[in-house]
Amino acid sequence: MLNWEDFSERVQTMFKRYEMLGINYAKSSYLVTDDTEIDIENQKVKLTLQNEYPNADIRYVLGDEDLNQNAIKYSDPISLNKTTIVKASLFNNNEPKGTVLIDTIRFHKAVAKKVKYLTSYSERYSGSGEFNMTNTLRGTKNFHDGKWQAWLNRDMELIIDLNTPQAIQQVKVGSMENQGPSIFFPTAVIVSISNDDETYQEVGRIERDFAMNSDIELKDFTIDFAEQDVRFIKVKAVFIINKTVNMFKIKDIKSFRLVLYFVIPFVLLLFIKYAFSKSNEKYQSLNENFQAKEISKTDRKENIILPDTVDYIFHVKPILSDRCYSCHGPDENVREAGLRLDTKEGAYAAIGEHLDKYAIIPGDTQLSQLVFRINTADEEKRMPPVTSNLALTQYEKLLLTKWVEQGAVWKDHWAFVPPVKKDLPKISNPELANNPVDYFIIKKLEEKNLTLSRPASKEKLIRRVSFDLTGLPPTLNDLDVFLNDSSENAYEKVVDRLLNSPAYGEHMASNWLDVARYADTHGYQDDLERVMWPWRDWVISAFNRNLPYDQFIEWQLAGDLLPNATLEQIVATGFNRNHKITQEGGVIDEEYRVEYVLDRTNTTSKALLGLTMECAQCHDHKFDPISQNEYYSFYSFFNKVDEKGRIEYDEIPEPNITITPKEIEAALSFVHLPDSIDQVKLMVMKDNALDRKTFVLKRGAYDAPTDEVEPNAPNIVLPFSEEYPKNRLGLANWLFDENNSLTARVAVNRLWQQIFGVGIVSTSSDFGNQGDLPTHPELLDWLAVTYREEGWDTKKILKLLVMSSTYQQSSKITPELFEVDPENKYLARSNRDKLSAEMIRDNALQVSGLLVNKIGGPSVKPYQPEGLWEETTSGQGLTKYIMDAGENLYRRSLYTFWKRTVPPPAMMTFDAATRDFCSVKRQKTSTPLQALVM
């Protein structure tokens, strides 16, 4: 009368009805379960997949395959003879349905080896009998699953006979605790070995006190010992509760009516794990990790190779930052379970309702909740939660586990520790090195068994260095001179000439305009013209004069606040007025004024500190230790300007200064005011709203002020000294404080990026927890400290970089090299890099002899396709692009008129920045449009 097959079809229709009705029914019957049977003779495991439904469409993959792509329909048991990951799911209409079963069938050295039981297991819980302990199969949390052997009221003691001596270094005993029905972990596990089965020598034991445990938990007791050849392994597990017996009575650990009445002191399952072959490789900073990761990707089916020493900064933190910080990070408002993993105090702190648990207990993988939670198969408990879509890979789980095992050594985020100049590393062929830069590069190459490539040809080298330092190609004459110069310092002469040419300042300025979000219009809807070019003239001049970087920045941030500020220093502050300004009617003035202050804050943070502080505008930063409070403290430096949110058409925003030939003659000789213009007004910074208070803005909204804040800088970088004035000048002092861990690193990294194409920290805008790690951390620090020690001499650093052997290498790539280092992280060759948008156009002008070598002045309007402005303007102001005539058609590209809403189209095609906001690194793309522009 009862026909499950028939019912199972009807009930699936019923399930659909439940779905229509919004009834939350148990999906348990969709689960695929696996059952394993061992073929003792052939040492193979037969894996059976099943589901409650008869004729279920079960599909599976083995190893790394993707269940959505390559699933194999299950029909007969799968035969396995090595450690294998199995993933299986019920399929419906070719889609996986329900939870995916993931199980690892493990093989070890004791598979199918005979076990001699010195104390016999319970007949009611006999598992699969005499081979249960060595059959590779793991028990589940269900103690009735037929896989567990139990010892009732007695110790477990047994001997495994490996037949012949084998190298063993680890024994694992799998066990379960489920105190409800009186199933307990052992309180001691003892392993002894022997080769004659008579005299046994103890090689390790784990002892623990009995502890109350409300969970059903699976745990492996792992005993490690020095590798040795053994034949017999004796394993003993003991359960003693002594004083705790009383506690049991008091606590009434029993159950209500559902529980079966029996007592099992503990249930035990044992298996022995393969001893990993010892790797000879030594840990060497992050690149080891990269390599290990790469290997693990290709090789995961066999073995996961972990670094010998797991490093917090280079291995652990990137995982925590990506997968854990969003709930266990700096943002207090979304922090779960009171656990904070981004600080040392938080990570080691007691957690849980009774503060009786720890996420991380150095060295203890058994009790560290982190290890348990990432590895547990219980989806309710597993971290990251399934719903977060942030799964850990097996490699990452093993890495975190090993880190805890090795003592969970904490290190502060590298970028928040001030740089230290280390001695140059020793290299085996110092003659290859031209200067200190090379020592660091060659050292790393030697570790990888790589060498520098041969030097590039002179023709290529002069072209490369000309573009990198001036943005222009060498002239034929330059080339001839260099080729014919056989003196030892011929190349150095070229470098010096380039650094001293006016084109150097133009090229450097061209990069800085991206950082400063320079444009010739106000942006937003109306996007009318503004005059900021005198500030651009100053930038060019500052670079050409090699104004030290600390002054270059100090003047731009706070020139107006310097004692007896010169007009030039005030002009420099135009930097912080390059942001967009709206002219649209009907906007809320304060809302936009706040926008401008936010822009300055974010620009300063990104350009000078390499921090994504803007994340803390609406809430505490999710990844870096920057609170929202600190964000607005930083913001308050820029919040004293008496400015308007919305300006009228043709209004020149206050505060500004007037520049006439008189001022130019007196103090601003770098401003190239054309004869046709009498005067210009330039926006500058001025703290003329000193009474304005700054508040934390709730959710970053201008009209939701909460707590008042005072000017301050992020504490994690460097506490803001009492001695500094609480204004932009103080901020500049803070930035160039010797202990500021970021300013110098961020600056040299950007210079490195300019010369080598990619920064030592490839995320040049983010040195925080989410940023990439430096490929050569010691080199970065060496350069940073040197830059400071050398008086922030930018030309000197650039010369150092381009004079290095590393820079002068050929960019020729061999297949072997490409295999080892496809991204050229180690610099065993020169990078092949794209020319920037400006360089491409300037190159064309130069080689065709059209380029006009004239410095500075107002922006120019060279050729651009017709009709673009008309298409995209609001009907106000700049509605028509009127092309210039004469020499203005052939000026260098940094002078091209930059309309924010319609930037020069050819430049955009070649990845120029939009100048809507600060940008420290351009994209590098290849698109067919580029060919069309050419």
Binding site: W4, A26, S28, S29, N142, S255, R257
Partner: protein
């Protein structure tokens, strides 16, 4: 004229010759499986002109549920008529010869007829129609492109068991009135007819008793440790404030009972005694042997030694007063008095209990429990009701007219049936849904066990030697 008639006939012929759709058993997916199903070719099609033919208000009320569902899914508003039109209608036909929950459902291309002896049969007939219709009938919003057809079919159906129940343990986990009403809907959907409310247990008293207000002031609330496994919750003291819990007022319960009646569901109250009553003793310590002040526990308690005193007369006075209010609320023929898992260590020591044993000529505390239950049965019977208890009430002698719920496996059920008692089969192995339903590593926390769907399905309440009549089923 002749030609016209001929044409008409030909046309009719042509239409009727278009191949009717043939349905097979696979197309009929009804739970529970009807007793007899005969499938015919072709189908009945609902459209906006379909009518419902009802002969009284009760039928009208029943029909309106399906009419409303159609309205939600299709926007159609079916008309209800007293007299059948020519075709395209659903009709209720009363036949007093039918057993109370039996019905037949006959579907032809022309109309649908449900024949039954009363409300329950019609309700189940309509439920069957719903399950024959496309799933979209359950949609709460308008759907399009659905053929509202059901196959031509003849179904004869009646339940195998009189008692098809579900127990909700409101004590261990409190459910509010709305959830309970929703549960009643789902019972009706599965043609089940008993909702057994476990209103009293150690961890919470859930029914308002006007004469004993502390039962709900104190007994309904426990210290919140809901985040822990049931058996891992710490012991609490009486001065800790309880925040988890709640109770149903008498009005709530009356509303539930009335709602259930409209769905052919009998609500059976369970008032546990003499054990599983820590919540009552926490409220009125005099109910225990030694007047100990205890707290409402947050989770599992074992063994259950805080039980009612079987010696004091005041205990029975209390219970009778409670049951009088309970019987006032629940019209059900049955009152469940629990009776399980009493650990009688206090009874052995208690002078009142020992006096009772002596006076009543009992041999031991097991017989004292039997005395307790029999005395309660007499009281219940004298109020025109019947007693149900868990299978422990067999111990020390079963009360004469008691019905037994067999929860510790099926043995108690067999034993009671052999003694000629009614039995409800509720073995923990198959009918307890606080068990894991799938592989434990993948399941949310449960009390333990492993009871997958197939295992539940495969339980046949009529075990071994039992007669069909003796058994009923409850989950």
């Amino acid at each position: 004229m002749k030609l016209k008639i001929f044409l008409l006939i030909w046309l009719l012929f042509a239409i009727s010759c278009s191949k009717p759709k043939v349905y097979t058993e696979k197309d009929i997916q009804i739970i529970p499986q009807p007793v007899e199903v005969k499938i015919q070719p072709d189908e009945f099609k609902f459209d906006q002109n379909t009518k419902f033919v009802v002969s009284n208000d009760e039928q009208k009320k029943l029909a309106s549920e399906l009419v409303n569902k159609f309205q939600k899914a299709t926007g159609w508003e079916f008309e209800m008529l007293d007299i059948a039109p020519k075709n395209n209608f659903v009709q209720f036909v009363n036949d007093d010869n039918f057993k109370s929950e039996a019905y037949t459902l006959v579907v032809t291309s022309n109309n649908i007829t449900i024949t039954a002896g009363g409300m329950a049969g019609f309700l189940y007939g309509l439920e069957t129609i719903k399950q024959l219709l496309p799933l979209e009938i359950e949609s709460s919003q308008l759907v399009s492109n659905v053929d509202w057809v059901i196959p031509n079919i003849e179904i004869k159906d009646e339940p195998r068991f009189k008692w098809r129940g579900l127990m909700l343990d409101l004590s261990r986990h409190f459910f509010d009135k709305n959830y309970i009403k929703k549960t009643i809907d789902r019972l009706a959907m599965h043609k089940m007819n008993v909702l057994h409310l476990h209103l009293v247990d150690d961890q919470g008293w859930r029914i308002e008793i006007k004469k004993y207000p502390k039962l709900t002031e104190i007994g309904s609330w426990r210290v919140d440790q809901e985040d822990k496994h049931w058996n891992a919750r710490a012991a609490v003291s009486p001065d800790q404030k309880g925040t988890y819990g709640g109770f149903l007022t008498q009005n709530d319960l009356k509303e539930i009972v009335q709602y259930a009646q409209s769905k052919n569901v009998d609500v059976v109250p369970e008032i546990e005694m003499p054990a599983h009553v820590t919540s009552a003793i926490a409220s009125y310590p005099y109910l225990s042997c030694f007047n100990n002040q205890v707290a409402v526990p947050s989770g599992g308690v074992w063994p259950l030694t805080d039980i009612y005193c079987a010696g004091k007369e005041t205990t029975f006075e209390f219970l009778e007063n409670v049951l009088l209010e309970v019987m006032e609320i629940f019209p059900s023929k049955y009152i469940h008095i629990g009776g399980d898992e009493a650990t009688k260590t206090n009874w052995k020591k208690c002078p009142h209990c020992q006096k009772r044993i002596k006076e009543e000529g009992l041999n031991n505390v097991e017989e004292l429990q039997s005395y307790f239950v029999k005395r309660m049965e007499r009281f219940i019977n004298s109020n025109g009701k019947k007693l149900i208890g868990w299978d422990e009430i067999l111990e020390g002698g079963l009360a004469p007219d008691a019905t037994v719920m067999s929860w510790r496996g099926v043995k108690g059920g067999i034993e009671a049936a052999e003694q000629g008692h009614d039995v409800i089969m509720t073995p923990g192995t198959h009918c307890y849904f606080d068990h894991y339903q799938g592989p434990q590593n993948h399941e949310p926390l449960a009390i333990g066990g492993f009871t997958p769907l197939s295992k539940v399905y495969q339980f046949d309440p009529v075990v071994e030697t039992m007669n069909e009549e003796e058994a009923a089923l409850e989950s």
